[in-house]
């Protein structure tokens, strides 16, 4: 890794701030729908457009989702919390203040376990978790810098956002990406966020600083915005490690600033330095009353928590005798974990089920896309059916792979395809014996080798018989016939 090589002699300190859109039906403070992709300005009302005299009212489900997430991250849910107004002017923010949480967030002091290089596990602290409203979308005619004017769509304004701030405890770009993956998996498991980074359901900003190995005080931190995929998080941070290390090596000072990641060009660039520091003028939102979430509310949320990815992973290893990495992939999304267990539940062995999902299913379905897994063209029952046909010798493993591809294309079950296309293994010993004779007659050397007892020759004969039957021969039967033939000679 070039980033690491360049940064030798430095310790990297990274903290991530993740904004997740909650999958509520309605916005944080009004009843407008949150459906993605609606035509511009069709999902707004006087409240989310900040019209005069309108008032916010808190969406109960958003608070439940926030609480559920806080518990999954092992946070303390504060007995009392409230919303505050955060002021700055931007045309995508209708009221020119954002209703957020400041001194009294929903939850604090949690953590998230991530896998680190070398197979270990680290717990990364989570400072705080709070709820706020999203802003609208600006469309620039050209780029922000060159556009003569911009256009505003307020559909997204007011969609519930959950902001989670990690401790600055991530020590490499890889760990940052691992954190974000684990984070996303938990949210998706909880059903509180669809995790769709392309649609902006999950957005990430990073703080990164470098310090000489062994130094105690933190280096100057730089904030990087616009990290909207796992890959971008890692690439941007790698770029930044190299940039900062080079600057430090050259004896330069790191400027505390905000930089924007340009994914197309692959670098971070400084956003115009702020001649004018932000002054958000927070104060308690007077249009909302405080929240006092009692123990019963919190315990109800705790009771409703599903099994989380890391627990599922441990259970898969124990219950299904899977390897850790296999279990990790299979529990990478809740839908995939459910898919695996449904396949096993439909009668497939835990081992072949894991193999088929890991090697075949994930070729055709992105495993971290919950919806895609649920809509998989090959259902768990169909996959189990396919595995059964292999187990009972109806089809060979080789044929099974092509049957799988056909299942994926047509959504039919395995038996239907095998029956229609005559893919059943040739189990007629008379017919197979004839094929064996042809193979041996065509290659006297092979015949001789085989007769002298070479295992390799037997395998080669089986292979040729399979080839001659287009994979339909039952290889076990071919071996039995060969043994019989040898004993007769």
């Amino acid at each position: 890794m070039s980033a690491v090589a360049t940064a030798a002699g430095y310790e990297v300190v990274i903290g991530l701030e993740v904004h997740a859109q909650l999958s509520t039906r309605t916005k944080m403070f009004c009843g407008c729908s949150t459906t993605f992709g609606a035509p511009p300005n069709t999902q707004t009302c006087p409240v989310c457009q900040g019209m005069p005299g309108t008032l916010p009212v808190i969406n109960r489900r958003a608070i439940e989702f926030g609480t559920r997430t806080a518990l999954a991250f092992d946070c303390t849910v504060n007995a009392s919390c409230r919303f505050a107004r955060k002021h700055y002017y931007y045309p995508d923010m209708p009221k020119n203040f954002q209703i957020s949480q400041y001194e009294e967030p929903l939850a604090e002091h949690g953590g998230l376990e991530i896998d680190v290089a070398g197979g270990g596990v680290r717990r990364i602290g989570i400072q705080r978790l709070h709820l706020e409203e999203d802003v609208g979308k600006l469309v620039h005619e050209g780029t922000l810098e060159t556009a003569p004017s911009s256009l505003v769509d307020y559909n997204r304004a007011g969609v519930p956002l959950m902001e989670t701030v990690s401790q600055p405890e991530l020590s490499s770009p890889e760990e940052a990406a691992a954190y974000l993956r684990a984070f996303r998996a938990v949210l998706v498991y909880l059903g509180v966020c669809d995790g769709n980074m392309e649609e902006g359901s999950l957005r990430c900003d990073a703080n990164i600083s470098l310090r000489r190995r062994g130094a105690t005080e933190l280096g100057t931190k730089v904030e990087i915005k616009n990290l909207n995929s796992f890959r971008n998080v890692q690439r941007a941070l790698e770029f930044e490690v190299i940039r900062q290390a080079a600057a430090l090596d050259a004896g330069e000072r790191i400027v505390q600033e905000t930089r924007l990641w340009d994914a197309d060009r692959g670098y971070t660039r400084s956003m115009r330095s702020k001649e004018f520091a932000h002054d958000y003028r927070y104060f308690p939102e007077p249009d909302l009353v405080p929240l006092e979430l009692d123990l019963a509310f919190v315990e109800r949320a705790r009771a409703a928590l599903p099994e989380l990815p890391r627990a599922g992973r441990r259970r898969f290893v124990e219950q299904y005798a899977l390897r850790g990495a296999e279990a990790a992939t299979l529990t990478g999304s809740r839908a995939l974990a459910e898919y695996y267990e449904a396949t096993v539940g439909a009668g497939a062995g835990p081992r072949p089920a894991a193999n088929w999902i890991l090697s075949e299913l994930l070729r055709v379905v992105p495993g971290d896309d919950e919806q895609a897994v649920r809509d998989s063209p090959v259902s768990p029952a169909h996959l189990a059916g396919l595995i059964r046909l292999i187990d009972d010798g109806t089809i060979s493993g080789k044929i099974a792979k092509s049957v799988f591809d056909k299942m994926a294309a047509s959504r039919e079950d395995a038996a239907t395809i095998v029956g229609r296309e005559g893919l059943t293994q040739v189990a007629d010993s008379g017919a197979l014996a004839l094929v064996i004779d042809q193979v041996l007659a065509a290659d006297p050397k092979l015949l001789a080798d085989w007769k002298s007892g070479k295992t390799a020759a037997e395998n080669a004969i089986v292979g040729q018989v399979m080839k001659a039957t287009q994979g339909k021969a039952n290889p076990a039967l071919v071996r039995d016939l060969l043994k019989e033939k040898l004993s007769k000679t």
Binding site: R25, Q43, T44, R61, A62, H87, S149
Partner: protein, 95 residues
């Protein structure tokens, strides 16, 4: 004491263009009001809880049920510069 620089800073935060004369007059008036307000310093508020609402209420929610949005035409009708289905704003320069 509120300075002219404070006034200029606050005017910027509040997005208000003030002429020189306005800013100076504003400084004088704010200084007088702040001097009056400063009488609060006479009171001992040690240990006093702040009041943000006169009537104490907690946990007021709405259910997560979709209500119809307003038609776009109704929402855009008041826009100073509508641009089809969007709102147009002049060139944005970050500050």
């Amino acid at each position: 004491m509120i300075s002219r620089a404070d006034v200029d800073h606050v005017a910027r935060l509040a997005r208000l263009t003030l002429s020189d004369a306005e800013a100076e007059r504003m400084r004088e008036q704010l200084a007088a009001i702040l001097a009056y307000i400063n009488k609060l310093r006479e009171l001992d508020v040690e240990g006093v809880e702040p009041t943000s609402h006169a009537v104490p209420l907690v946990n007021v929610f709405r259910e997560d049920e979709v209500q119809p949005s307003l038609p776009r035409e109704a929402m855009i009708a008041n826009a100073p510069e509508p641009a089809g289905e969007l709102f147009r704003v002049p060139r944005i320069i970050e500050d």
